[in-house]
Protein backbone atom coordinates (compact mmCIF):
# COMPACT_ATOMS: atom_id res chain seq x y z
CA UNK A 1 0.00 0.00 0.00
CA UNK A 2 1.16 3.50 -0.59
CA UNK A 3 1.65 5.87 2.27
CA UNK A 4 0.40 9.40 2.38
CA UNK A 5 3.02 11.74 0.96
CA UNK A 6 4.47 13.59 3.86
CA UNK A 7 6.63 16.67 4.11
CA UNK A 8 10.20 16.00 5.03
CA UNK A 9 10.09 18.67 7.68
CA UNK A 10 6.95 17.76 9.56
CA UNK A 11 8.78 15.75 12.22
CA UNK A 12 9.29 18.87 14.34
CA UNK A 13 5.58 19.59 14.16
CA UNK A 14 4.81 15.98 15.03
CA UNK A 15 6.96 16.18 18.15
CA UNK A 16 5.52 19.54 19.13
CA UNK A 17 1.97 18.32 18.59
CA UNK A 18 2.68 15.20 20.63
CA UNK A 19 3.72 17.52 23.46
CA UNK A 20 0.43 19.41 23.17
CA UNK A 21 1.19 22.17 20.66
CA UNK A 22 -2.09 22.77 18.84
CA UNK A 23 -0.64 25.12 16.29
CA UNK A 24 1.80 22.41 15.25
CA UNK A 25 -1.09 19.98 15.01
CA UNK A 26 -3.01 22.46 12.88
CA UNK A 27 -0.07 22.68 10.50
CA UNK A 28 -0.10 18.89 10.26
CA UNK A 29 -3.83 19.03 9.60
CA UNK A 30 -3.37 21.52 6.76
CA UNK A 31 -0.62 19.39 5.27
CA UNK A 32 -2.46 16.07 5.38
CA UNK A 33 -6.18 16.80 5.31
CA UNK A 34 -6.59 16.52 1.53
CA UNK A 35 -5.08 13.05 1.36
CA UNK A 36 -6.96 11.86 4.43
CA UNK A 37 -10.25 13.31 3.25
CA UNK A 38 -9.77 11.93 -0.25
CA UNK A 39 -9.27 8.41 1.08
CA UNK A 40 -12.16 8.63 3.52
CA UNK A 41 -14.38 10.14 0.85
CA UNK A 42 -13.83 7.07 -1.32
CA UNK A 43 -14.32 4.65 1.56
CA UNK A 44 -17.50 6.49 2.58
CA UNK A 45 -18.94 5.94 -0.88
CA UNK A 46 -18.39 9.56 -1.91
CA UNK A 47 -20.71 10.76 0.83
CA UNK A 48 -19.39 14.23 1.61
CA UNK A 49 -21.01 14.64 5.03
CA UNK A 50 -19.88 11.25 6.23
CA UNK A 51 -16.39 11.76 4.88
CA UNK A 52 -16.17 15.05 6.75
CA UNK A 53 -17.30 13.40 9.99
CA UNK A 54 -14.78 10.61 9.52
CA UNK A 55 -12.01 13.09 8.78
CA UNK A 56 -12.76 14.96 11.97
CA UNK A 57 -12.80 11.70 13.92
CA UNK A 58 -9.50 10.66 12.35
CA UNK A 59 -7.72 13.87 13.33
CA UNK A 60 -9.17 13.83 16.84
CA UNK A 61 -8.00 10.25 17.28
CA UNK A 62 -4.62 11.21 15.87
CA UNK A 63 -4.35 13.96 18.48
CA UNK A 64 -5.21 11.49 21.22
CA UNK A 65 -2.73 8.91 20.02
CA UNK A 66 0.11 11.20 19.01
CA UNK A 67 1.97 10.89 22.33
CA UNK A 68 2.27 7.18 21.59
CA UNK A 69 3.57 7.71 18.05
CA UNK A 70 6.99 6.02 17.93
CA UNK A 71 8.31 7.59 14.71
CA UNK A 72 8.88 4.09 13.33
CA UNK A 73 7.08 5.17 10.17
CA UNK A 74 6.39 8.50 8.54
CA UNK A 75 3.69 10.49 10.26
CA UNK A 76 1.71 10.56 7.02
CA UNK A 77 1.73 6.77 6.82
CA UNK A 78 0.66 6.47 10.43
CA UNK A 79 -2.11 9.02 9.98
CA UNK A 80 -3.29 7.36 6.78
CA UNK A 81 -3.58 3.95 8.47
CA UNK A 82 -5.34 5.50 11.45
CA UNK A 83 -7.81 7.28 9.16
CA UNK A 84 -8.54 4.12 7.18
CA UNK A 85 -9.09 2.30 10.44
CA UNK A 86 -11.60 4.93 11.52
CA UNK A 87 -13.50 4.45 8.25
CA UNK A 88 -13.42 0.66 8.50
CA UNK A 89 -14.70 0.77 12.06
CA UNK A 90 -17.52 2.93 10.81
CA UNK A 91 -18.25 0.42 8.04
CA UNK A 92 -18.22 -2.45 10.51
CA UNK A 93 -20.59 -0.55 12.79
CA UNK A 94 -22.92 0.26 9.95
CA UNK A 95 -22.83 -3.19 8.38
CA UNK A 96 -25.27 -4.33 11.06
CA UNK A 97 -27.74 -1.83 9.66
CA UNK A 98 -29.63 -3.60 6.84
CA UNK A 99 -30.84 -0.30 5.43
CA UNK A 100 -27.30 0.63 4.46
CA UNK A 101 -26.58 -2.58 2.59
CA UNK A 102 -27.57 -2.64 -1.06
CA UNK A 103 -28.07 -5.92 -2.87
CA UNK A 104 -27.19 -6.58 -6.45
CA UNK A 105 -30.81 -6.30 -7.52
CA UNK A 106 -31.04 -2.79 -6.13
CA UNK A 107 -28.03 -1.42 -7.95
CA UNK A 108 -29.06 1.16 -10.51
CA UNK A 109 -28.52 0.24 -14.15
CA UNK A 110 -26.56 2.71 -16.22
CA UNK A 111 -27.65 1.30 -19.57
CA UNK A 112 -25.10 0.43 -22.19
CA UNK A 113 -22.59 3.07 -21.24
CA UNK A 114 -19.17 1.60 -22.02
CA UNK A 115 -16.72 1.75 -19.12
CA UNK A 116 -14.06 3.57 -21.06
CA UNK A 117 -16.47 6.42 -21.75
CA UNK A 118 -17.73 6.65 -18.20
CA UNK A 119 -17.17 9.94 -16.60
CA UNK A 120 -15.22 10.10 -13.39
CA UNK A 121 -18.30 11.16 -11.47
CA UNK A 122 -20.26 8.26 -12.90
CA UNK A 123 -17.61 5.83 -11.78
CA UNK A 124 -17.51 7.38 -8.33
CA UNK A 125 -21.28 7.25 -8.13
CA UNK A 126 -21.23 3.56 -9.04
CA UNK A 127 -18.58 2.85 -6.39
CA UNK A 128 -20.66 4.76 -3.89
CA UNK A 129 -23.60 2.43 -4.57
CA UNK A 130 -21.64 -0.69 -3.69
CA UNK A 131 -22.32 -2.51 -0.41
CA UNK A 132 -20.04 -1.05 2.27
CA UNK A 133 -17.68 -3.99 2.78
CA UNK A 134 -17.38 -4.75 -0.92
CA UNK A 135 -16.71 -1.08 -1.55
CA UNK A 136 -14.07 -1.01 1.17
CA UNK A 137 -12.25 -3.96 -0.39
CA UNK A 138 -12.45 -2.48 -3.88
CA UNK A 139 -11.27 0.95 -2.76
CA UNK A 140 -8.42 -0.41 -0.67
CA UNK A 141 -7.23 -2.92 -3.27
CA UNK A 142 -7.90 -1.37 -6.65
CA UNK A 143 -7.57 2.32 -5.77
CA UNK A 144 -5.36 2.52 -2.70
CA UNK A 145 -3.20 -0.44 -3.71
CA UNK A 146 -3.46 -2.51 -0.55
CA UNK A 147 -2.74 -6.24 -0.49
CA UNK A 148 -5.47 -8.72 0.40
CA UNK A 149 -3.51 -9.74 3.50
CA UNK A 150 -3.63 -6.18 4.85
CA UNK A 151 -7.28 -5.74 3.93
CA UNK A 152 -8.12 -9.00 5.67
CA UNK A 153 -6.30 -7.87 8.79
CA UNK A 154 -8.04 -4.52 8.93
CA UNK A 155 -11.51 -5.79 8.09
CA UNK A 156 -11.24 -8.95 10.15
CA UNK A 157 -11.76 -11.30 7.24
CA UNK A 158 -9.82 -14.11 5.59
CA UNK A 159 -7.73 -13.42 2.50
CA UNK A 160 -10.08 -15.60 0.46
CA UNK A 161 -13.04 -13.57 1.67
CA UNK A 162 -11.30 -10.37 0.70
CA UNK A 163 -10.67 -11.75 -2.81
CA UNK A 164 -14.26 -12.89 -3.08
CA UNK A 165 -15.49 -9.47 -1.98
CA UNK A 166 -13.26 -7.82 -4.58
CA UNK A 167 -14.54 -10.11 -7.32
CA UNK A 168 -18.09 -9.33 -6.26
CA UNK A 169 -17.43 -5.59 -6.08
CA UNK A 170 -15.87 -5.54 -9.54
CA UNK A 171 -18.80 -7.47 -10.94
CA UNK A 172 -21.28 -5.12 -9.36
CA UNK A 173 -19.34 -2.12 -10.58
CA UNK A 174 -19.20 -3.39 -14.14
CA UNK A 175 -22.87 -4.18 -14.00
CA UNK A 176 -23.66 -0.74 -12.66
CA UNK A 177 -21.64 0.78 -15.46
CA UNK A 178 -23.43 -1.32 -18.02
CA UNK A 179 -20.58 -3.56 -19.03
CA UNK A 180 -20.81 -7.33 -19.23
CA UNK A 181 -17.86 -8.66 -17.27
Amino acid sequence: MSPVPTAAHDSDDVRAAAAGDRQAFQRLYVLHVSRVYGTLHRLAGYDHARAEDLTQDAFIRAWQKLPGFRHESAFGTWLYRLAVNVALMDIRARSADPVRVIDEEHLPEFGETPFCAAEREELEQAIGQLPPRARAVLVLHDIEGWRHEDIGDELGMAVGTSKAQLHRARGLLRKALGERS
Binding site: R22, F25, V30, V33, A51, E52, Q56, W63, Q64, G68
Partner: protein, 153 residues
Protein backbone atom coordinates in the same frame (compact mmCIF):
# COMPACT_ATOMS: atom_id res chain seq x y z
CA UNK B 1 -11.86 -3.62 -21.30
CA UNK B 2 -8.87 -5.53 -20.06
CA UNK B 3 -7.55 -5.74 -16.52
CA UNK B 4 -4.88 -3.12 -17.15
CA UNK B 5 -7.38 -0.53 -18.33
CA UNK B 6 -9.66 -1.35 -15.42
CA UNK B 7 -6.89 -0.79 -12.92
CA UNK B 8 -5.80 2.39 -14.66
CA UNK B 9 -9.27 3.88 -14.44
CA UNK B 10 -9.61 3.01 -10.78
CA UNK B 11 -6.14 4.19 -9.82
CA UNK B 12 -6.93 7.50 -11.45
CA UNK B 13 -9.48 8.03 -8.70
CA UNK B 14 -6.74 8.00 -6.09
CA UNK B 15 -6.34 11.72 -5.68
CA UNK B 16 -6.35 14.11 -2.77
CA UNK B 17 -9.55 16.00 -2.25
CA UNK B 18 -10.27 19.12 -0.26
CA UNK B 19 -13.26 19.01 2.10
CA UNK B 20 -16.16 21.25 1.19
CA UNK B 21 -15.72 23.20 4.40
CA UNK B 22 -12.96 23.93 6.88
CA UNK B 23 -13.00 21.06 9.37
CA UNK B 24 -10.37 22.53 11.68
CA UNK B 25 -12.68 24.62 13.92
CA UNK B 26 -14.74 21.53 14.81
CA UNK B 27 -11.61 19.46 15.33
CA UNK B 28 -10.03 22.11 17.52
CA UNK B 29 -13.19 22.38 19.62
CA UNK B 30 -13.17 18.62 20.11
CA UNK B 31 -9.53 18.65 21.24
CA UNK B 32 -10.60 20.29 24.51
CA UNK B 33 -12.69 17.26 25.33
CA UNK B 34 -9.91 14.84 24.55
CA UNK B 35 -7.37 16.01 27.12
CA UNK B 36 -8.30 13.29 29.61
CA UNK B 37 -8.38 10.57 26.96
CA UNK B 38 -5.05 11.74 25.63
CA UNK B 39 -3.42 11.70 29.05
CA UNK B 40 -4.69 8.19 29.69
CA UNK B 41 -3.31 7.07 26.35
CA UNK B 42 0.06 8.48 27.21
CA UNK B 43 2.62 6.33 28.89
CA UNK B 44 3.34 6.97 32.54
CA UNK B 45 6.70 8.46 31.72
CA UNK B 46 5.21 10.88 29.26
CA UNK B 47 2.43 11.76 31.66
CA UNK B 48 4.97 12.69 34.30
CA UNK B 49 6.93 14.68 31.72
CA UNK B 50 3.99 16.94 30.88
CA UNK B 51 3.12 17.66 34.50
CA UNK B 52 4.21 20.97 35.97
CA UNK B 53 7.68 20.72 37.54
CA UNK B 54 6.45 21.53 41.07
CA UNK B 55 3.88 18.74 41.04
CA UNK B 56 6.45 16.36 39.65
CA UNK B 57 8.91 17.23 42.42
CA UNK B 58 6.61 16.60 45.36
CA UNK B 59 5.28 13.42 43.84
CA UNK B 60 8.79 12.10 43.45
CA UNK B 61 9.71 13.13 46.98
CA UNK B 62 6.56 11.66 48.48
CA UNK B 63 6.94 8.36 46.64
CA UNK B 64 10.62 8.23 47.54
CA UNK B 65 9.87 8.89 51.21
CA UNK B 66 7.07 6.33 51.25
CA UNK B 67 9.33 3.73 49.63
CA UNK B 68 12.11 4.45 52.11
CA UNK B 69 9.81 4.21 55.11
CA UNK B 70 8.27 1.02 53.78
CA UNK B 71 11.69 -0.53 53.15
CA UNK B 72 12.93 0.44 56.63
CA UNK B 73 9.76 -0.83 58.23
CA UNK B 74 9.89 -4.17 56.44
CA UNK B 75 13.59 -4.56 57.23
CA UNK B 76 13.13 -3.67 60.87
CA UNK B 77 10.16 -6.01 61.14
CA UNK B 78 12.11 -8.89 59.60
CA UNK B 79 15.01 -8.36 62.00
CA UNK B 80 12.95 -7.92 65.13
CA UNK B 81 9.93 -10.14 64.60
CA UNK B 82 11.44 -13.49 65.64
CA UNK B 83 12.71 -12.20 68.99
CA UNK B 84 10.63 -9.18 69.86
CA UNK B 85 7.05 -10.19 70.51
CA UNK B 86 6.18 -6.70 71.72
CA UNK B 87 6.70 -5.15 68.29
CA UNK B 88 3.02 -5.02 67.55
CA UNK B 89 2.20 -3.39 70.82
CA UNK B 90 5.00 -0.86 70.36
CA UNK B 91 3.93 0.34 66.94
CA UNK B 92 0.21 -0.08 67.19
CA UNK B 93 -1.91 1.86 69.60
CA UNK B 94 -4.65 -0.70 69.47
CA UNK B 95 -4.69 -4.48 69.01
CA UNK B 96 -7.88 -6.49 68.63
CA UNK B 97 -8.33 -9.61 70.70
CA UNK B 98 -9.35 -11.63 67.65
CA UNK B 99 -6.11 -12.97 66.13
CA UNK B 100 -7.71 -12.91 62.66
CA UNK B 101 -8.06 -9.14 62.89
CA UNK B 102 -4.76 -8.48 64.61
CA UNK B 103 -2.76 -8.79 61.38
CA UNK B 104 -5.02 -6.35 59.59
CA UNK B 105 -4.69 -3.90 62.49
CA UNK B 106 -0.89 -4.03 62.24
CA UNK B 107 -0.99 -3.47 58.47
CA UNK B 108 -3.37 -0.55 58.75
CA UNK B 109 -1.39 1.03 61.55
CA UNK B 110 1.85 0.73 59.59
CA UNK B 111 0.15 2.18 56.52
CA UNK B 112 -1.15 5.12 58.54
CA UNK B 113 2.31 5.84 59.94
CA UNK B 114 3.86 5.71 56.48
CA UNK B 115 1.22 8.02 55.09
CA UNK B 116 1.71 10.49 57.94
CA UNK B 117 5.43 10.55 57.24
CA UNK B 118 4.82 11.01 53.52
CA UNK B 119 2.42 13.86 54.25
CA UNK B 120 5.14 15.55 56.28
CA UNK B 121 7.21 15.52 53.10
CA UNK B 122 4.32 16.66 50.90
CA UNK B 123 1.77 18.43 53.10
CA UNK B 124 -0.25 19.72 50.14
CA UNK B 125 -0.82 16.34 48.61
CA UNK B 126 -4.53 15.73 48.27
CA UNK B 127 -3.92 12.18 47.13
CA UNK B 128 -1.97 11.32 50.28
CA UNK B 129 -4.63 12.96 52.44
CA UNK B 130 -7.29 10.88 50.73
CA UNK B 131 -5.27 7.72 51.33
CA UNK B 132 -4.82 8.62 54.98
CA UNK B 133 -8.54 9.24 55.44
CA UNK B 134 -9.32 5.96 53.75
CA UNK B 135 -6.89 4.13 56.00
CA UNK B 136 -8.43 5.73 59.07
CA UNK B 137 -11.88 4.72 57.89
CA UNK B 138 -10.66 1.16 57.45
CA UNK B 139 -9.25 1.24 60.98
CA UNK B 140 -12.64 2.38 62.26
CA UNK B 141 -14.36 -0.41 60.36
CA UNK B 142 -11.88 -2.86 61.81
CA UNK B 143 -12.70 -1.65 65.33
CA UNK B 144 -16.39 -2.24 64.64
CA UNK B 145 -15.59 -5.72 63.37
CA UNK B 146 -13.49 -6.40 66.44
CA UNK B 147 -16.32 -5.26 68.73
CA UNK B 148 -18.67 -7.72 67.00
CA UNK B 149 -16.13 -10.54 67.01
CA UNK B 150 -16.78 -13.48 69.39
CA UNK B 151 -13.21 -13.14 70.67
CA UNK B 152 -14.07 -9.70 72.01
CA UNK B 153 -16.71 -11.03 74.38
Amino acid sequence: MNEFEWRRHLRALRQPRTPGRDLWPAIEAALDDTVVARESATSTATAIRVRPPGRQRWLLRASLAASLVLACGVGWHMLRAPTDKTYTAATSTWKPADPRLAGAAIELDAARIELELAIQQAPDSAALQRLLHRTERQQTQLRHLADQSPAAS
